[in-house]
Symmetry: C2
Subunit: 254 residues, 2 copies
DNA sequence: GAGTGGTCTAGACCACCCT
DNA sequence: GGGTGGTCTAGACCACTCT
């Protein structure tokens, strides 16, 4: 007697909630629409607010919701495709480069950077800060490490620190002969400074793209670019419009 | 009078904790070492367990910790580089392909898949399941969508469903003439089935790589590959050993 | 000032792994 | 059975944005 039902492994509540709300987003809400606040949603589903928040966090991680303190929770538009395909013609500072320089400091590099650059810690490195903005929204923040030996003419220029020097460094980079480039993508969490520029809270999930630009025989530049993981999809090649909704695509196949 | 100290914006406790523990990991722990359990750590730092967990979650997201239910929290090794650079010679099923087919079903496609394939919803699609395992650890799970029109000879073969049919489909794919490929990377959370194969809990962060394989004029195959975001770094090009510890790299430059 | 999401607490119970 | 991380609760207060 007793359990007429099979002993279903109890699905966590927040996981079930995420599914339910996700389906509601597809059917009952339009992009940009504001959801009821967390306290009301929690009451409506009969769960504690913390549990509801766990579900909303998942949906935000998947880019389906956007939450802003003091404002509310809104339905996010589909992620925008950001082309990060690499080519030798697209070195930092090239005419097609959409990044906006915002600053530059010059100092001895931390050990990790020196290692990536295959240089010594006693050689000055220019550290450029750049932003990528699309449709009025900040998309990525970048740190470009340029050893002073990659731009030997620059010391004579004596540009003031800040955006002006950043532009000067980028201009000098155009003299180099590109010989290759390699790249890695991994998950990270936004440092406080990046978070601020990306209009997110510290710790927000980001996609970190590390690129090493090579001239013959050595690493000329290293870039660490931090993309908002909630709002963008990195594309390689001309596949900007490719979109498979990860959840729904699988409802049918096993 | 009163506040002799400047009104520091209070840094969240979990953020500060994350920093402190992160530094301890660098100096006091070896890879694979087991940390004290959460209740003890929380007590030691004088915070609630939930707060401590928030810090640990961040560190796990960054690939610095590994937590397993019933076992404990261990210091994770550096992320492994997984080469996902694309080339026309590396189509699914090629001799250099390290993926292991585990199953195959054939059915009418869900709408989202049909859209990605530029085909109709009334044409059968083979859905292959494959795994990528490195050093004994599951790294990624893939779904390969192959419209039956891409492997016209297959219907005659009549292979049984499962791994055998998967291999048959891959073999047939080798007849095609590759004409291009494009790719996108985005953040997602593991579906229940992927999570199980990747030895993670549902909802775990993953990097979703969507690839469209083209023959002249049409999309021949679409792949949705789900990589464990905690343990791997996707590399494009031969940059397997490039590593900049995201946090420490920035201690010095602004 | 009212309303929102973000942080934090102190408990409880559960699912899982080991021995 | 004992210990671990995972889930969940019912509250409290804080930081922010808008009006």
């Amino acid at each position: 007697m007793g359990t007429t039902q099979l002993d279903t492994v109890p699905e966590p509540k927040y996981w079930h909630l995420k599914t339910v709300i996700g389906e509601a987003l597809d059917s009952d809400f339009a992009v940009g629409e504001i959801l009821p606040n967390e306290r009301e949603l929690a009451a409506r589903f009969g769960v504690a607010r913390a549990t509801l928040r766990q579900a909303l966090e998942q949906l935000e991680l998947e880019g389906r919701l956007q939450r802003r303190r003091g404002v509310g929770t809104t339905v996010a538009p589909p992620r925008m495709g950001v082309d990060v395909s690499a080519s030798l013609q697209d070195w930092p500072g090239s005419p097609t480069d959409a990044w906006q320089p915002v600053g530059c400091t010059t100092a001895l590099p931390p050990a990790a950077v020196a290692r990536a650059l295959d240089t010594d810690t006693d050689e000055d490195v220019h550290t450029l800060r750049r932003m990528l903005v699309t449709h009025g929204q900040p998309v990525a923040a970048e740190l470009l490490y340029v050893p002073s030996s990659s731009v030997p003419e620059l010391s004579a220029i004596d540009a003031p620190a800040g955006a002006a020097r950043a532009r000067a460094v980028l201009r000098e980079l155009q003299r180099l002969a590109p010989a290759g480039l390699d790249r890695a993508v991994e998950l990270g969490s936004a440092r406080a400074d990046d978070a601020k520029e990306l209009d997110r809270l510290p710790g927000a999930p980001v996609l970190v793209v590390t690129t090493r630009y090579l001239t013959e025989g050595r690493t000329a530049v290293v870039s660490v670019a931090t993309y908002r993981a909630d709002t963008c999809r990195l594309t390689f090649g001309a596949s900007g419009d490719l979109e498979i909704r990860h959840d729904t695509a699988q409802r049918r196949a096993s």
